[in-house]
């Protein structure tokens, strides 16, 4: 059996498990092909007000610890609060490099980027943010990225010559709490600076294009000192990212907001309990973000929320890996994950088994805004009303 067949078989098996489980839990209507029964989305004024929030788990999560039966206890709020309103895609396959920065960049460009995951480089292909801003002539304040600081400082803007200066505003919340060398600028907040689980040390990064802390703080209408004071009440870097994301939604209300969570990647230390804590925290954060969307007048009823891990992690069965700890084998399960979609363009309470790819995200979100991610290599996810 060749490798692709094997992936497909394993991935399909996993998706079947997940679908059976979800049907039992939520009574979801099984909509293997729902595009034919969905209304075509009304273009025009609705598109102008449309907003999209994307949440990626930039720490790779496995089915076993999330949507598979044995993982359900770790994601109670996604299952109980979000799933009944969501379309759930059981097979999202990532065929690229399984490193978090390069994989998230691939999600954002719709092309499997091939650069060294640890290099301080921009994505080569135009990003979703650039398609969005340039086609719709939107200001930088209308597309934001909240990301961990391990190399993600360049995620908002590609090196593609046609889109110079059209990237997203990227905020790396931890940088607001750290000196330029990465050390803590405030005592007692070191636990909020963890982000380099893939390698014990990070590549040095050039921060020339980064917005100064004071400027970020002023956009968020918060002094750096107040920010630090609030941060002292938080338990993890991802809770800090949630705080910042909410602040951006309240003060700036961008149409496109991308949040990459990273606590889950503590799995690389081999502590299974800490990995589970990361998943539970991500579960809470997703539920809280949806609540925020539904409580902010600028977002309520006009925002699609898309949640997906960047990829999975190694399966217990592959001798080349060490179970949940890493994503080194490139085996089928480490490449197969899921996506949950909520919002006005989504048919609620449906399960979609058709395999999609991670790189389908960008052309789809672009299309939700009525623009064309013309260099992306992914396909439209038509089940989102397209």
């Amino acid at each position: 059996m060749n490798q692709v067949d094997q992936w497909n078989r394993l991935a399909a098996g996993r998706s079947y498990d997940r679908r059976e489980f979800l049907r039992g839990l939520c009574g979801s209507a099984l909509a293997t092909t729902v595009s034919s029964v969905l209304p075509r989305r009304a273009w025009g004024s609705a598109v102008k007000r449309r907003k999209v929030v994307v949440v990626t788990f930039g720490g790779g999560a496995r089915d076993e610890e999330t949507f598979a039966p044995e993982g359900q206890q770790n994601i109670p709020r996604m299952l109980q609060e979000l799933m009944p309103q969501a379309a759930f895609f059981t097979q999202v396959v990532n065929r690229g490099i399984l490193g978090h920065y390069v994989a998230t960049a691939s999600l954002a460009t719709g092309v499997y980027e091939r650069f060294n995951n640890f290099a301080d480089v921009s994505p080569e292909n135009p990003t979703l943010f650039e398609y969005f801003r340039q086609s719709l002539k939107r200001p930088a304040s209308d597309a934001w990225v909240v990301a961990p600081s391990n190399g993600f400082n360049r995620i908002g803007q590609s090196s593609h010559g046609l889109y110079t200066g059209a990237g997203a505003s990227v905020i790396l919340p931890k940088r607001l709490l750290a000196h330029a060398d990465g050390s803590a600028a405030f005592g007692g907040l070191e636990h909020l600076l963890n982000d380099n689980y893939e390698s014990p040390i990070q590549a040095p990064v050039a921060l020339a294009s980064e917005m100064p802390s004071e400027q970020v703080a002023s956009m968020l209408k918060l002094s750096v000192a107040d920010f630090a004071a609030h941060a002292s009440t938080l338990n993890s870097p991802d809770e800090l990212s949630l705080f910042v994301a909410r602040r951006i939604m309240r003060e700036v209300a961008p149409c496109l907001l991308w949040v990459t969570l990273h606590d889950i990647d503590v799995a690389h230390t081999g502590a299974f309990s800490l990995y589970l804590e990361g998943i539970r925290r991500s579960d809470t954060i997703c539920a809280e973000l949806w609540r925020t969307i539904q409580s902010e007048p600028e977002y309520k009823d006009q925002t699609n929320l898309l949640i997906l891990p960047d990829f999975g992690r190694d399966s217990d069965g592959d001798a080349g890996g060490n179970g949940f700890q890493h994503h080194r084998t490139g085996d089928a399960l480490s490449r197969t994950t899921w996506m949950m979609a909520l919002g006005p363009d989504v048919r609620q309470n449906t399960v979609v088994d058709r395999p999609i790819e991670s790189i389908d995200l960008t052309p789809t979100v672009a299309a939700l805004f009525g623009c064309d991610a013309r260099m992306s290599q992914g396909h439209l996810i038509r089940e989102l009303g397209l």
């Binding site: 390698s199 230390t269 502590a271 299974f272 490139g330």
Partner: protein, 393 residues
């Protein structure tokens, strides 16, 4: 023939003509093993020997298929011109990055799997006596927050659960290990691993490693991580990997360990394992995996003790001597997964008839896998730990 005590350099010279005929990716990974020949356990050296012999006279369809699969990998011209023979480790590092970025990593892993049969003995060798036995003990300080937990759920389909196990003697497991080592003495055949230093000394025929016993080594390594990251012009993860490839056991305080194979093994637990320098539970799980995979011992006794609480990695690097307070609750979850992964690693060894026991000394719950132990079964009757150790052998 390849002698067991051969120096890597002469082995490399001897095998180079053969390797030059192989596809480069295969030649490079074989050369990488040859370069480590003086760090290999006897079983590994035998495997290497068998693989080289099989490759020298490829008559089995499996070997031919493996060679074809390696030959089908496309390497860039730059990589093809690099010298894989002199520095195979760096070459393999670069090749791995290229295989990922060109989408061929899966094909590479598949090709490597095709090679595995070549490492196995051709005739059926006599079963090892006594049969392999792995025992995992969970320290009583590994405890759930409130009520008594129901342990070992992931392992239950594979064996029989004993909820009422008493240990009536002070050193049951230590004596069990010593007796097995005395009955079948062999190099690297009997191991004791733990988060903490042994409470009772092990006989010389038992290899013993602990997270606490290697404190100075892991702290010295953390200090090196810190120094590397604070070096001007440091090149991040690649620079660190390069530094680690050059590292010798003596540079991180392992000079006092007399056995060079063990010295290198101990170093590689910390340089090749992620989190082994930070958490005792990770150290034990990863070392069990590596001992089973590499030394293929007859007896392994591993003890999970509490790991330190989650602490900023940055702090651990900045203050390598920091040993944060224990987290018993998290450690229990980690150790249960550690026991499950240990069982999977035992399953990967070629022989049948092995036994696996996991026991929590505080809750008195145990699970036994092996001869005569049905899966998904439970035995309510009280039993002693000593009796349990005899049930499958």
């Amino acid at each position: 023939m390849i002698g067991d005590a051969q120096k890597p350099s002469s082995l490399a010279t001897q095998q180079l003509p053969l390797l030059r005929k192989l596809p480069i990716p295969l030649a490079a990974i074989m050369m990488q093993q040859i370069a480590r020949a003086d760090r290999l356990f006897p079983v590994e050296l035998q495997e290497l020997k068998r693989s080289l012999q099989a490759l020298a006279s490829p008559h089995s369809p499996a070997i031919e298929a493996a060679v074809r699969a390696f030959a089908a990998l496309q390497l860039s011209p730059e990589l093809q011109h690099l010298d894989w023979a002199t520095d195979p480790a760096s070459f393999v590092e670069k090749m791995s990055a290229e295989l990922w970025s060109s989408g061929q990593i899966g094909a590479f892993h598949d090709a490597a799997k095709l090679l595995v049969p070549a490492t196995l003995p051709t005739q059926t060798s006599p079963p090892i006596k006594p049969a392999r036995f792995v025992t995992i003990a969970l320290d009583r300080r590994l405890s759930a927050e409130s009520s008594t937990p129901s342990l070992f759920l992931k392992l239950r389909p594979h064996g029989t659960f004993f909820p009422n196990v008493k240990d009536e003697e002070p050193n049951t497991l230590g004596e069990w290990l010593s007796a097995r080592a005395a009955a079948a003495p062999a190099p690297y055949a009997h191991w004791r691993l733990s988060g903490e230093a042994d409470r009772s000394p092990s006989p010389a025929s038992v290899v013993s490693l602990s997270y606490d016993g290697l404190k100075s080594t892991r702290q010295q390594l953390l200090a090196r991580f810190n120094a590397t990251r604070n070096t001007d012009g440091a090149s991040g993860p690649e620079g660190l990997r390069h530094t680690l490839l050059q590292l010798t056991p003596e540079q991180i305080g392992l000079a006092s360990m007399p056995d060079p194979v063990l010295r290198a093994f101990a170093m590689e637990i910390f340089t090749g394992g992620s989190g082994t320098q930070l958490y005792a539970t990770t150290f034990v799980q990863w070392t069990v995996r590596e001992v089973l995979r590499r030394a293929q011992p007859q007896t392994l006794l591993a003890r999970f003790t509490p790991r330190s609480e989650a602490t900023s990695i940055d702090l651990r690097f900045t203050y390598p001597e920091l040993e944060p307070p224990p987290d018993g609750r998290g450690s229990l979850i980690d150790a249960e997964m550690g026991a499950y992964l240990s069982y999977l690693n035992l399953q990967r060894l070629p022989d049948e008839g092995a036994s696996f026991l996991v026991w929590h000394e505080g809750y008195g719950q145990a699970l036994l896998i092996g001869n005569g132990m049905p899966g998904n079964a439970q035995s309510q009757s009280p039993i002693t730990l000593k009796a349990l150790l005899r049930l499958t052998t």
